[in-house]
């Protein structure tokens, strides 16, 4: 699990940038999706790696990986999926701001063991670095004293 800001920002970037590569992006985490069977599509999942404190002002550094999974039609080889992934990841890697940096992308890996099932899948792991100061949490609702009003 990663911080919501990281997940939402990366999903937002991917949705916009992957379209430039002709790939439809789906947010599939805890959602029922209906991806196409005849074209390349992608989704993402997140793996946190480390957390550390950066300075005496309370800044944190959280690192992790966004695993982008690219799926394509079966029985057509791997070239089209790999090319689409290259393009999409290139666009994505141009993104970044003062809080969230996409440090680098790993080389593509097989996600479906190279077999031809209903989808052929690869994934590209993108390393992220998130620097932030933990915001003050929203105060929880006032808890009622369970003994209030009792003798």
């Amino acid at each position: 699990m990663s911080y919501p800001f990281v997940r939402n920002q990366i999903r937002q970037w991917a949705a916009a940038d992957f379209a430039l590569g002709g790939v439809q992006f789906f947010d599939s985490i805890n959602r029922v999706i209906s991806p196409p069977h005849d074209s390349i599509w992608a989704t993402v999942e997140f793996d946190p790696a480390s957390d550390s404190i950066l300075d005496f002002c309370g800044a944190h550094l959280s690192t992790g990986v966004a695993d982008f999974i690219f799926a394509g039609p079966p029985n057509v080889g791997d070239s089209a999926v790999l090319a689409a992934a290259d393009t999409c990841i290139w666009y994505l890697m141009q993104r970044g701001n003062s809080a969230l940096t996409l440090a680098y992308a790993h080389q593509p890996e097989e996600f479906s063991n190279g077999t031809a099932d209903h989808n052929y899948r690869i994934y590209v792991a993108v390393e992220y670095r998130f620097v932030f100061v933990p915001p003050k949490p929203t105060p929880p609702l006032a808890r009622r004293d369970s003994n209030a009003g009792r003798n």
Binding site: F5, L54, D55, F56, C57, G58, A59, L61, N97, S98, A99, L100, A103, Y104, R129, V131, F132, V133, P135
Partner: protein
């Protein structure tokens, strides 16, 4: 009581070069530990502010940096001071220069170290004993080094750049967490540089000198005292006996309030 405290909550602040301190005129200063200053009105000063007595006639106080303890009505203690055995009498134009939070900027260092060396031996060789040395009783005030992450929007970083440029003396206050007091010293920032490596934050590094030795001051009061008036005679009033550990909370850092920096 735990034997060690985490550095979480520790703050390192320096006075701004352009900041003008609030000047208070003492009408009496006690001979006690800590010394208690009597003024007509304490105004807006509060516990934790930096205070430098000037022209008070107390050699133990003049030109040195202290931390204001909890102010009373018209009085405030100088945490870290000790005038118990002083022979000083209040001078003709004494003042206490006070720097509050508005005059300070806190630094978002990732590392800060104080370097102090033992006193050096003084060579005193003679024909009879060419190797003779005498131990110096005076230790150098020392130096410090720091590291942090570059952020042009951080007022602390900007102040460091100014400090190196103007070479002016500033006052430093390190506030230890859990009421463990403060380390205070006059400083001059002598160097700011930068370091960068692949896939890390862009960092600044730097160094400076202590213009007098850094001092750890904390609330260890409890003694009563005599107040010395302008004529050097005793006056009525006592120190604020404050419970140990009843320290004010450290001020929040000036920078880093935003979600992302």
């Amino acid at each position: 009581m735990p034997a060690a405290t985490n550095t979480k909550g520790l703050t390192i602040c320096i006075t701004k070069g352009a900041a003008a301190p609030v000047n208070l005129t003492p009408t009496a200063i006690s001979k006690a530990r800590p010394a208690v200053v009597t003024v007509a009105d304490v105004g807006t000063i509060k516990a934790g502010d930096l205070a430098m007595p000037v022209g008070t006639g107390f050699a133990e106080l003049d030109g040195k940096i202290f931390v204001v303890g909890t102010p009373g009505v018209g009085t405030f203690p100088l945490m870290g001071s000790d005038t118990t055995g002083s022979t000083g009498t209040l001078g003709g134009t004494p003042k206490i220069e006070v720097d509050g939070d508005a005059n300070l900027v806190c630094e978002c260092f990732s590392e800060f170290s104080i370097n102090r060396d033992a006193p050096e031996a003084i060579e005193a060789g003679t024909f009879c004993d060419p190797t003779l040395t005498v131990a110096s009783a005076v230790a150098p005030a020392g130096t410090f080094e720091f590291t942090g992450n570059v952020n042009k929007d951080d007022p602390g970083y900007a102040e460091l750049l100014k400090a190196e440029e103007d070479g002016l003396q500033r006052e430093m206050k390190v506030t230890f967490p859990q009421g463990n007091g403060y380390v205070v010293a006059p400083i001059t920032v002598t160097l700011v540089s930068w370091a960068f490596a692949l896939d890390t934050s862009v960092q600044f590094t730097g160094a400076g000198t202590f213009n007098s030795k850094p001092k750890h001051v904390y609330d260890d009061s409890g003694a009563t005292s005599l107040l010395m008036g302008h004529n050097g005679g005793p006056t009525m009033a006592g120190d604020q006996a404050r419970a140990p550990g009843n320290m004010p909370p450290p001020p929040p850092p000036a920078a880093g309030a935003a979600m992302a920096r």
